[in-house]
């Protein structure tokens, strides 16, 4: 073996910024995922503030129609593809190797490659604004609208959108392979599959979804690119193509992608609830099966986005969509009964996790309306759907992200965030969120379609739109205490110590922040809560586990 041929990292000149830019350490890459995602979160947020400002009252005040279409198309694209999906992958990147007692991801260099495709892809998406107009056909970019240049987006924004998404998709696929190999091959001795932390399980299922679904949307995007640039006729009905084919292929990815956007947030919440209630997760195995069940059923519901096209078999997709509520409901009860008879410490991570529970509940229930096909005929493409998806992706995923951020910030930086400021952020965000998105249910029922830049003041939508705009700006204001909290804590926050929350899982067994390669020595693992067992003197029932010995170290050197 020519392992000696590997040149040791010249760590002497790797310092400061250069160390971050060239790192293959999963923790640094994870933190860069978070930073990059938050940057795009703020950009996507600014875009949607312009949208809300325009809709605050009837009449076009601030933007023109075409630019309005660019704003909401890019808002959704950025939030989905360069915020929610990557930030969850970022948490996974940081936490999974720590939770399974591994020194790093299985393929550290591929891990770095996955990350660096994201700012590149996100930048390409945004470049449209500078080259004559960004993509303006919605984040779904249905053809023929996304194909007919004169009638849809001017400039090359739509092409940049396609190329950017293909890059981001490739990043996801590489990341998924990396996670799967890491989880299957690098778990610490004693950590059987059913002793893995729930977060790791959700990353596992998410990675399978990404691996199976992302190539499908990549094919749709490449067909769209060929149609636009090389005279293809996949989706153009004037030359024998089928626009509904695109919708099938698009949603075959994009519905499972909804679970990619929430499962890891669910996993994070499932780590936080046991810690702050001092109880194990209620029904661990049922939770695992529910997660796998959601993943499997997730592939059979895509056409519920297409009920009004008149070209799908409605009863099948209606039934499957209703059924997917069952494993989701199982999880909800597992979470509540984790808290039940616990001893709850209402720290900021738990508050955000409770926000997740109570808001995702609404997002789950109002989804059932669309599963009833005739009701969907009324609600499809109205603001009801905007309300629904934000209760899932903001009320669910973003609150989950914030919970995870407050939970893991001490581990990542070694410093605590301020609890009072954190709670202020939670209260502002919670109120702003509901002010913004609850009225949208009523707007949708009253008949307001999505994606319109203006509405008649005679339509009766004025008050609710103004309320939603006030809520949107309240959410923006809630980012001030958030950034202030991070800024102050990084400079002068209290030292966190290894385990500030009395955690259950292995990441709390190492220093904060953890050293390169994470662990010197691992505790014995005989349940999904090795640290809890250690703290309370619980050992393996059979007491036959050998001492796992020194933690595994990498055979190559990568700084």
């Amino acid at each position: 073996m020519a392992t000696t041929a590997l040149t040791p990292a010249a760590s002497t000149y790797r310092s400061g910024l250069y160390a971050w830019l060239t790192t293959t350490d999963h923790k640094k890459i994870g933190i860069m995922y978070l930073i990059n995602s938050f940057v795009f979160f703020f950009i996507g947020g600014l875009l949607v503030l312009a949208v809300r400002a325009e809709l605050a009252q009837p009449g076009l005040q601030f933007v023109e129609d075409q630019f309005y279409n660019e704003l909401f198309s890019m808002h959704a694209t950025l939030m989905i593809f360069v915020f929610i999906i990557p930030i969850l992958a970022g948490f996974a990147n940081y936490v999974v190797p720590l939770q399974i007692g591994a020194p790093d991801m299985a393929f550290p260099r591929i891990n770095a490659l996955s990350f660096w495709m994201l700012p590149l892809g996100g930048g390409l998406l945004l470049l449209g604004f500078l080259t004559g107009g960004a993509a303006a056909a919605g984040w779904t970019s249905y053809p023929p609208l996304s194909e007919d240049r004169p009638l849809a987006s001017v400039g090359s924004g739509q092409d940049l959108w396609i190329v950017g998404l293909v890059l981001i998709g490739t990043s996801s696929i590489l990341g998924a392979i990396n996670f799967l190999v890491t989880i299957f091959k690098m778990r610490a001795p004693g950590m059987t599959l059913f002793r893995m932390p729930i977060l790791v399980w959700t990353v596992l299922v998410t990675s399978v979804l990404v691996l199976m679904a992302t190539p499908v949307i990549t094919s749709a995007l490449i067909m769209l690119f060929i149609d636009r640039n090389y005279g293809g006729s996949f989706f153009d009905p004037r030359v024998g193509g089928d626009p509904v084919l695109y919708q099938n292929v698009f949603w075959f990815y994009s519905h499972p992608a909804v679970y990619v956007m929430i499962l890891i947030a669910m996993g994070t919440v499932s780590e936080i609830l046991p810690v702050f209630s001092r109880k194990p997760l209620f029904g661990y195995k049922a939770f695992v099966f529910a997660t796998a069940g959601i993943g499997a059923l997730g592939f059979s519901v895509w056409a519920h986005h297409m009920f009004t096209t008149g070209s799908v078999y409605l009863p099948f997709f209606s039934l499957m969509t209703f059924l997917i509520a069952v494993p989701t409901g199982v999880k909800m009860f597992n979470w509540i009964f984790t808290l039940w008879r616990g001893k709850l410490t209402l720290a900021t991570p738990l508050l955000f996790a409770l926000g997740f529970l109570s808001m995702f509940l609404i997002g789950g229930i109002n989804g059932a309306f669309s599963a009833a096909v005739p009701v969907d005929f009324a609600l499809h493409d109205t603001y009801w759907v905007v309300a629904h998806l934000h209760y899932v992706l903001f009320g669910g995923s973003v609150f989950g992200v914030m919970a995870g951020f407050y939970f893991y910030f001490p581990k990542m930086t070694g410093r605590m965030l301020n609890e009072t400021v954190g709670k202020l952020q939670f209260v502002l965000m919670f109120i702003g969120f509901n002010l913004t998105f609850f009225p949208m249910h009523q707007l949708g029922l009253a008949g307001m379609p999505r994606r319109i830049a203006d509405y008649s003041s005679a339509a009766g939508w004025n008050d609710l739109n103004l309320l939603a705009t006030i809520g949107g700006f309240t959410i923006a204001v809630s980012m001030v205490p958030f950034l202030w909290n991070v800024f102050v804590s990084l400079r002068s926050g209290p030292i966190a110590g290894d385990d500030p929350w009395e955690g259950n899982t292995l990441e709390w067994a190492t220093s904060s922040p953890p050293p390169p390669y994470n662990f010197d020595r691992l505790p014995e693992i005989c349940s999904e809560r090795p640290l809890f067992d250690l703290r309370h003197g619980r050992t393996h029932p059979a007491a036959t586990m050998p001492d796992p010995g020194p933690a595994p170290q990498p055979t190559h050197s990568a700084g």
């Binding site: 009638l151 096209t309 001893k343």
Partner: protein, 378 residues
């Protein structure tokens, strides 16, 4: 334990205080501003229901909505109540460092909350399937055939004969008194949907229904407006993003009594047959060319002499999209002085325009008010 206690305040007192303060502030503000809270609550609840349905199909969909809504509210109240109660009841007391019972699960409870939701969703599936069959099954012999053609960014309504093949009358204006889709209340209408360009969606909120208009595909559905709703007008709108003019794709649906409808349609058919497109008289003085492509005029400015009638040769180059030329005083929103016939491209018309005084006028497309140009009369 000092760092632990710093990181773990034992109560959510700060949040509780913040929430109470906020509620008080909202309450005081409401009283000060004189909000009628009862009326606000009533309109909030009303807002959680769709509008009153004006079709037989819409009424069934609204009934289904009510079933789903009541079950949803019940589940929401139970589960959200459980969350709130649990959080309040099981807060950790200050200084309490004991462990609660380490419950890992309960097979009975887990079975119950798997089986009961399964039964609920299967019930919901069955009732929604029944409603679907009732509202989405085509009638054997619909009474009236109408075809809606949705193009960027305009609706056109073709009235067809009983076979649904021959066009009897075409309505080019989508809104207003003289425009929109007239339907006979109490009769079954079969609406066929086609698009020459991109995907649109036919959506009337009070029908509680929408269907996509997909190019290259013919969608159709049947509906019957309640007889009691004859004489009313309902607002409709495109519901599928179709480009920059998506928001202006509005249309009106006028419900008429069947006798009024028959008389109206006959009148319109005769009117259409009686007035052939105006032909050039040969007397007009100046001629100007105006053309439209990609939902825009190709000329920003045209000039004609003052004080004499003139002729506009209008070339609509947009496949399947209706345009015209209308002249307004001063600006596109000024008084309308002339309106040319609306027709779909690619086609040409010649408009004879009466004399105008010297000055600046705007010319626009009636169906696409964002298409504008300047007419200088000198």
């Amino acid at each position: 334990m000092s760092s632990t206690s710093m990181a773990r305040p034992s109560r959510g007192s700060v949040t509780a205080v913040a929430i109470v303060v906020l509620l008080v502030v909202i309450g005081v503000a409401a009283v000060v501003l004189g909000f009628d809270l009862a009326r606000a609550a009533q309109s909030f609840v009303d807002g959680l229901y769709p509008p009153r349905a004006v079709t037989a199909e819409g009424a069934q969909i609204r009934d289904l909505y009510t079933i789903v809504f009541l079950i949803a509210v019940a589940i929401f109240l139970i589960v959200e109540g459980l969350i709130i109660w649990t959080v309040i009841r099981y807060r950790r007391k200050p200084g309490d460092d004991t462990l609660p019972a380490q419950t890992h699960g309960n097979n009975l409870a887990e079975t119950v909350w798997t089986v009961v939701p399964t039964l609920i969703v299967i019930f919901l599936f069955v009732v929604s399937w029944q409603t679907l069959n009732a509202v989405d099954t085509p009638a054997a012999t619909p009474d009236t055939h109408i075809r809606a053609v949705a193009g960027q960014f305009q609706w056109q309504f073709d009235y067809l004969d009983n076979d649904g093949t021959t066009v009897l009358y075409t309505q080019n204006l989508a809104t207003g008194e003289g425009g929109g889709m007239a339907v006979p209340a109490g009769r079954t209408v079969r609406l066929t949907l086609t698009s020459p360009d991109v995907i649109h969606a036919f959506y009337v909120p009070q029908f509680l229904f929408k269907r996509d208009v997909v190019p290259g595909r013919v969608n159709q559905f049947d509906f019957r407006v309640n007889e009691a709703d004859a004489g009313q007008t309902f607002r409709g709108q495109c519901a599928e993003l179709c480009g920059a003019g998506h928001r202006i794709m509005l249309f009106d649906v006028h419900a008429m009594t069947p006798t009024d409808f028959d008389a109206w349609l006959q009148e319109r058919i005769q009117e259409q047959n009686a007035t052939p497109p105006p032909r050039p008289s040969g007397e007009a003085g100046a001629t100007v060319d105006i053309s439209a492509l990609n939902v825009a005029f190709e000329q920003a400015e045209v000039r004609v002499p003052a004080g004499a009638p003139f002729r506009i040769v209008f070339d609509n180059k947009d496949q399947g999209i209706p345009h015209n030329v209308a002249i307004h005083r001063d600006s596109p929103t000024g008084e309308e002085l002339f309106q040319g016939e609306i027709f779909s491209g690619p086609d040409q018309r010649e408009y004879e325009v009466p004399e105008l005084d010297a000055g600046t006028y705007a010319f626009i497309c009636t169906v696409h008010p964002n298409m504008t140009g300047t007419l200088l009369v000198e």
